[in-house]
Symmetry: C2
Subunit: 244 residues, 2 copies
DNA sequence: CGGATTCTTGACTCCTTTCAAATATAGTGG
DNA sequence: CCACTATATTTGAAAGGAGTCAAGAATCCG
């Protein structure tokens, strides 16, 4: 125990947006120094979310958006008749909560797949500030729009691709997102279970498992439980298309 | 022929937003008279789109959003390897083009399924105005958010539902949207082909056809080509869930 | 009116699911 | 730190639902 209290709480370690290394991925991009300073005031607080715990649940009142600082999340919709659909996996620098704006309540569950930390962005203040800072407004609109485009890509995947193609597309997507964050594009650990992958891809967990085994047999990658090692990224990309 | 020129062009018949009967469905909601007047200046022009013609195509530079005044559209994504996925069907009062904000180019094709007319909303002016009118800003954010939620519902449909369930969900959705526009909830004409329904629902056209026949055999509705008559809307809703 | 498109239906195939069992892994408490 | 239990993963075999292929019928539209 320290006799002198050292601020080791979340708050104590806070890093301003202007100094955040996720800046490029997160909200503020292309702002002047002055504007960045004002955006710094936007982030209300940090919040830690332990693995398995919800960041928010469907039905809860919507107040804030969340930018992931560290960690990994899934978002999941549960229908009235009990069906569960994982609608996405989110990693550092990505924004969550956009679905809550429309109704004023969150429309899905967001759950940490590993111990994580998020920046809380009060939506009211984001609205205010984006009325004053054009760049911020436009950036926010772009982020929402990209989410729509991403969702459309998932529709395409679910509507037209076969099991192995879906799996290849899923892995290539993860690979690219890890790579853009400075991690290896060819080796990474899955944070989610086969069942969660299956829910996202519209497949049963057994089909996911078989698909991974098959891609391994084809020599495209190695699977060791949650660890993925991609040997032929190009061929994996080709496996996203029919007749391969 | 009229000897005296009467303005029968699109422009001549223009109706201000403040007098538009789609007001509740479209952009401006809950504005003061003063604000409504300013929003009127937002609508650049009307544009007619003949059946089968594109409102915009993927790749074209994004300039404007479009609010449907009359008619019916589909939006469709085409992937690099040639797969087509219908991502939605839009009717009067609904907004199209949100997917273009992110990249500055449209990311899908929007095509009229019947002769249609849209209001052109220049995005720049919408951005400006929404910086000045809180209500408009918030409404716009809500519309985008609802689009995300809608997309998530489609993911759920594609990821977890069986053919007949998807079809039932599709028809119930159409029914509700027609009803909220003052049309019959139980009888309407499909504007799209079986193939387009299939693309949207992740099914082949034969499966759509068989599904409709089946729902008819079960007595839930009558199908006569494009005409749908729903006899048991409650049971059709139940058919969206498993074990029916 | 007539070719082209769209729709329906049947028969068969194939991919994914279901059901089941064995194995491996991870988390927990002693 | 190890044992133990719950969870997660793999794999096989069989079943089922949607896809494919094909042909005929109906409808649309110029």
């Amino acid at each position: 125990m320290n006799s002198v209290s050292i601020p080791i709480t979340t708050q104590g370690l806070q890093v301003a947006c202007s100094a955040c290394n996720l800046r490029e991925l997160c909200m503020p991009v292309g702002l002047s120094d002055d504007e960045l300073e004002r955006v710094d005031t936007l982030i209300g607080a940090r919040r830690k979310v332990a693995r398995g715990m919800p960041l928010y649940l469907s039905g809860e009142p919507f107040q804030s958006l969340y930018a992931i600082r560290t960690g990994f999340f899934k978002t999941e919709v549960i229908s009235e008749d009990g069906r569960e659909q994982v609608t996405g996996f989110q990693m550092a620098g990505e924004l969550m909560g956009l679905d809550g704006i429309g109704t004023g309540n969150h429309n899905c569950d967001a759950r940490a797949l590993e111990d994580s930390e998020v920046c809380v962005i009060p939506f009211n203040r984001l609205s205010e500030l984006s009325r004053e800072i054009d760049t911020l407004q436009h950036h926010f609109h772009k982020v929402m729009s990209r989410e729509i485009v991403r969702d459309q890509a998932v529709m395409m995947l679910l509507g037209t691709m076969r099991a192995e193609e879906r799996l290849a597309a899923f892995l290539v997507n993860l690979s690219q997102r890890f790579a853009s964050r400075g991690y290896s594009a060819t080796e990474f650990n899955l944070r989610m279970t086969r069942e969660e992958i299956g829910s996202y891809l519209g497949l049963k967990l057994e089909t996911v498992s078989r698909g991974l085994s098959r891609l391994q047999d084809e020599g495209l990658l190695s699977v060791s439980n949650k660890n993925i090692r991609i040997h032929k990224l190009d061929d994996l990309k080709k496996a996203m298309s029919p007749r391969c």
